[in-house]
């Protein structure tokens, strides 16, 4: 399981703002292997979001190369990028981005609707499994506005899992949640990484959250200034157990 999933080589991304050229990413290189749990940290303006867009195949580098599962992303067309996102990536957003007035199950099914190889029966099955993986089997017919923030984010995580992606990309996924619920989400992330072997790239600006991951890449002004293996990984489960328990968490810890 040590295969290289992501390879970034001398990658730069420039934006033209009028006459000025802004370098959001400046000659960065790193690799991500299968089974890793990485946090990418940096203050605002450090290039985190640009990096995430490129990793997520939503944007292409100005120079340098990005290989996802040995595919040269820079050479792909828009439609090929869409297909790649559909098959190989799972997105988790800060604001959950669930479709309103749409049940949890249907929200989770959404990525599979864009994959014509999957029958409606398979789609339902996979969505149910994904919801089970995030402990929401009893909420499948709930609408987003009937769910708490933490539960909504778990639906979003199930949606990111449903297509069995090789990399899960989370963009400030705990940004809208209180610390207790955030730990619950991190616990789920750790579980997905450890038990299901999912490769996770988690973007955050909170060092507290980064401490749950195995490796941290620190960005500043578009450059990688630190890439360290975390030798003292905290367990979100332990952290939670040491906190007063509320009802929502009880269901996760069960």
């Amino acid at each position: 399981m040590d295969s290289i999933l992501v390879e970034i080589k001398n990658l730069s991304r420039e934006f033209k703002m009028g006459d000025e050229t802004v370098r959001a990413l400046n000659d960065i290189s790193f690799t991500i292997k299968s089974g890793e749990f990485i946090t990418i940290m940096g203050s605002s303006g450090s290039g985190k979001t640009t990096l995430l867009n490129i990793l997520g195949c939503l944007d292409k580098p100005t120079s340098g190369a990005y290989f996802l599962d040995r595919i040269n992303v820079g050479a792909l067309s828009k439609n090929e990028l869409a297909k790649l996102r559909n098959k190989k990536l799972g997105f988790i957003f800060q604001s959950y981005n669930l479709l309103a007035r749409t049940t949890a199950l249907e929200n989770v099914e959404l990525p599979l609707l864009y994959n014509s190889e999957i029958s409606s029966k398979e789609r339902r099955e996979k969505a149910m499994n994904a919801l089970e993986a995030v402990n929401l089997s009893d909420r499948i017919h709930y609408l987003p506005n009937q769910l708490s923030g933490g539960q909504q984010q778990r639906v979003a995580i199930a949606r990111a899992l449903v297509n069995d992606p090789i990399v899960i990309l989370a963009d400030e996924a705990t940004g809208n949640l209180d610390s207790r619920t955030s730990y619950g989400i991190m616990m789920l992330m750790q579980e997905l990484n450890a038990v299901h072997g999912k490769t996770i790239v988690f973007i955050t600006h909170e060092p507290d959250i980064a401490s749950f991951s195995k490796r941290t890449i620190l960005l500043r002004d578009g450059k990688v200034i630190n890439d360290t293996i975390n030798d003292r990984i905290r367990s979100a489960k332990t952290v939670l157990q040491n906190m007063p328990i509320n009802t929502e968490l009880a269901s996760i810890l069960k």
Binding site: K78, K83, R85, N86, F91, N115
Partner: protein, 406 residues
């Protein structure tokens, strides 16, 4: 991307905003209902006029004298005296496409029966007239060729005349009435013919032998009209041409001169009326069509609002693997679904409205399949046309910007 998935996505999106979708549909519903109802009413009146004209005797051909004098004072057609017994004989001898002929003269006057009197028209005809008009007797007997030869003072009365000259329950057969001081014996009562296409009461008439009216009342040897009937409907045109040729020869008209008579067929009348009602139908359809366009613009407006409002959703869908074409098709299908659903409701509503018009206002209506098909087609085209630009806008969104849109 499977089409079933696309339909599913579009349908869910409409469901999420069902109230708005319904209000958008309303424009289309009203438009289509209007189209269906208007065309049905237009077609109905057209058909009823056609059947009324055919009711006058569909194979009937009317020959009237006309002036061929150019310039100078031109006289009213009835005072032009060109049709004579000679013409009738010539026609009778040479006719191929005609199976019945009857000359006719008219005289307006007061008819008197004791205390009752009534202003009506006396029409002189020969017995073949009843065949040409397809007019049956109600009671009594028709006059004969012998009566025509003898200029017998007998007559047949229409039902309006009967009602005005006799008290209830009295049929008047055998009674003598006076028209312009000349006594006529009633030998029969005609069946009810009703109003003609011009709204004229066809039963307000006294029918007498042609010779009687010519000699005893009008003192003329000319005919005002000759009625003929073609052997069948397909022969009408040939019969008209035939009549024209025979009469030109009989009148010794040189080549290049105008006819001194006119030959009119029912087909011409039908065409005239059809043209009128066609104009009406076109007018109604245009009005209805405009309301459909307004409905379409409503769809376009809402789809634009919808695209802007759902920018984030579009970004999300793209990040999950939707291609531009998938987004385009989703919004296009949404627009078409709204317009087609509106169309179906509109057709049902239009048919209901048409039935109600027939039921309450007794207007003749005719719901044609073509009007329903055309409405559907127009709905589909409206959906595609007005849905395309908003959908294109949606598909061109940059997923990164769309995701960050607040």
């Amino acid at each position: 991307m499977k089409i079933s998935n696309l339909l599913r996505i579009a349908w869910k999106a409409i469901q999420r905003n069902s109230m708005r979708a319904f209000l958008t549909m309303l424009g289309i519903i009203i438009g289509v209902a209007a189209v269906i109802a208007m065309i049905s009413i237009g077609q109905g009146s057209k058909q009823s006029i056609q059947s009324q004209i055919s009711g006058m005797g569909s194979n009937m051909i009317t020959i009237r004298p006309s002036s061929n004098v150019m310039g100078g004072p031109r006289m009213d057609n009835t005072s032009v005296q060109t049709l004579t017994e000679q013409d009738l004989i010539a026609l009778q001898k040479q006719m191929v496409f005609i199976n019945a002929l009857s000359p006719s003269v008219f005289s307006r006057g007061q008819v008197i029966n004791g205390p009752y009197n009534w202003s009506t028209t006396m029409q002189g005809v020969n017995p073949e007239y009843f065949t040409i008009r397809g007019w049956a007797l109600k009671d009594g007997v028709l006059f004969t060729k012998q009566d025509v030869k003898l200029a017998a003072k007998v007559c047949l009365i229409g039902q309006t005349v009967q009602h005005n000259l006799f008290s209830d329950g009295e049929d008047g057969i055998g009674k003598s009435i006076r028209f312009k001081k000349i006594p006529f014996k009633i030998i029969g009562v005609m069946s009810k013919k009703g109003e003609n296409a011009f709204g004229q009461d066809q039963d307000d008439v006294i029918l007498a032998p042609i010779s009687t009216v010519q000699k005893r009342i009008l003192s003329t040897i000319y005919y005002q009209t000759i009625f003929a009937s073609a052997v069948n409907e397909n022969a009408i045109e040939n019969a008209a041409t035939e009549i024209q040729q025979i009469l030109r020869t009989s009148h010794k008209l040189q080549k290049g001169t105008d006819d001194d008579f006119t030959v009119r067929t029912q087909a011409e009348l039908i065409n005239t009326f059809s043209a009128t009602s066609r104009t009406l139908t076109i007018l109604l359809t245009v009005i209805a069509g405009i309301s459909l366009i307004v409905g379409g613009i409503g769809i376009m407006n809402i789809m634009y609002v919808s695209v802007t409002e759902r920018t984030k959703e579009i970004g999300l869908r793209m990040s999950l693997g939707a291609r531009g074409i998938d987004i385009l098709l989703q919004f296009l299908i949404e627009a078409v679904m709204i317009s087609i659903t509106g169309g179906i409701i509109g057709v049902v509503l239009g048919i209901t409205a048409t039935k109600l018009v027939t039921y309450f206002m007794h207007w003749p209506t005719l719901i044609t399949q073509s009007s329903i098909l055309v409405s559907f087609l127009v709905c589909f085209v409206t959906g595609v046309f007005f849905g395309y630009y908003p959908a294109l806008k949606a598909s061109k969104l940059n997923p990164i910007e769309a995701l960050r849109y607040e």
